[in-house]
């Protein structure tokens, strides 16, 4: 059954345990080489900082938050996480390409319209961006990498993310099921 599904369905993914195992090895390897974990939202933050810095440099310097990430001789984009995020995009593109999953589309539940999906995506993104800054990390940076070194902050962030996601799941159920 699995086999003929594979021919029809592009949405056949790795066994989650296998994926998780490899992901764990990658985290371990990252810690072994660089002494730090993975991350994603940090790269997007660097992106925002560099956009603001190039559009309105004086404003960026005055703002207490942007100015933390701006230095004279270094572009805010020249950070480890930005390179890593570029790698993530390349890696996902390779995997998607090998499995024929590349294509422009909006993925949503048949019960809702594309427009609704996009509005919720935008709102969710804004919330996630805001939350990731307050907590200094997202699911990969704070929760996943934090858990791998038993960081208390990482565990608390992880529990807060999943706890609140379960709590709010009821209100968004129409979007997904």
């Amino acid at each position: 059954m699995k086999k003929d599904k594979k021919q029809k369905n592009r949405h056949v993914y790795w066994n989650p345990y296998f994926g998780g195992f490899l992901l764990g090895i990658i985290i371990l390897f990252t810690f072994y080489i660089t002494g730090r974990g993975l991350g994603a939202s940090g790269a997007l933050k660097s992106g925002v900082v560099s956009i603001v810095d190039s559009v309105a440099p004086t404003h960026a310097e005055k703002n207490a938050y942007y100015s933390k990430f701006i230095s004279e001789d270094n572009s805010p984009l020249n950070t480890w996480l930005v390179y890593e995020a570029l790698g993530v995009i390349v890696g996902a593109f390779i995997s998607g390409g090998l499995n024929g999953r590349i294509g422009w589309r909006i993925q949503h539940s048949p019960k809702i319209t594309s427009k609704r999906r996009l509005i919720f995506a935008l709102g969710g993104g804004v919330l996630f961006g805001l939350g990731a800054q307050i907590a200094r990390g997202c699911t990969s940076g704070a929760a996943l990498s934090g858990m791998a070194v038993l960081s208390t902050g990482g565990f608390i962030t992880m529990l807060a993310i999943f706890g609140s996601a379960y709590a709010f799941a009821y209100f968004f159920r129409k979007n997904w099921i």
Partner: protein
């Protein structure tokens, strides 16, 4: 038949994986614990010991103090009594027996300043230097000859006799100038400026930031 067997094994595969996981995790708990070797390797320590870089001469130190070089801190490893009696300007007292205290670590283990250790002679300072080096602390140096040589060269320089070279005389005059900076008053100078008071070396406030961890992260 073979297919059936493999199917049987495959049905068990998750249980097998879970068992392996538990075994591995349990192994961590059961492994015998041992004290980890802390600090740098003996070979590295030896190469640090024989490096001439580890000493600072009294003349170099005097120059640094006069120029108010902000890049170093002086640490007096003698006991509190000697420290109260006399010490070099701006020196911090960390007696040898308190060297491994937590408060001391903030001064010794940091990347902000060079640390210059001294005692009456090299002896105790050298011991402190080796201990700290062994722990992997960086930028440590010892004042060659300690306070004894500080007195005999800077505070009370020996006047060269007539048959010595010009360099000796030059050295003497710089040392003499330095000693004046540190508050020694010479008779020939008193005749000219009687009103001059003892100049205290400027006090500098030393604040040490805690050493950052090697790796930085953030999402």
């Amino acid at each position: 038949m073979v297919k059936k067997k493999t199917a049987k094994v495959l049905a068990l595969r998750y249980k097998l994986l879970a068992a392996i996981l538990v075994l591995l995790a349990g192994g961590l708990v059961l492994l015998p614990k041992y004290q980890k070797h802390e600090g740098i390797k003996p070979q590295e320590l030896l190469s640090n010991v024989i490096s001439p870089e580890r000493y600072l001469s009294t003349d170099q130190l005097a120059l640094k103090l006069i120029n108010r070089d902000p890049s170093f801190i002086l640490i007096d490893v003698r006991d509190e009594k000697s420290y109260a009696n006399y010490s070099l300007p701006n020196a911090i007292n960390i007696p040898l027996k308190k060297l491994l205290d937590e408060d001391s670590e903030a001064y010794l283990n940091q990347n902000q300043f060079d640390v210059v250790l001294f005692s009456n002679d090299n002896f105790y300072a050298d011991q402190a230097w080796i201990l700290c080096n062994r722990l992997g602390y960086k930028n440590l140096r010892v004042l060659k000859g300690g306070t004894n040589r500080w007195f005999s060269t800077i505070i009370n320089p020996l006047k060269p006799s007539e048959d010595m070279t010009a360099e000796e005389f030059e050295l003497y005059s710089t040392r003499k100038a330095a000693s004046m900076y540190f508050g020694v008053v010479y008779p020939d100078q008193v005749a000219i400026e009687t009103s001059e008071t003892k100049i205290e070396a400027p006090k500098k406030v030393i604040t040490v930031q805690k050493k950052k961890k090697a790796a930085e992260g953030g999402c």
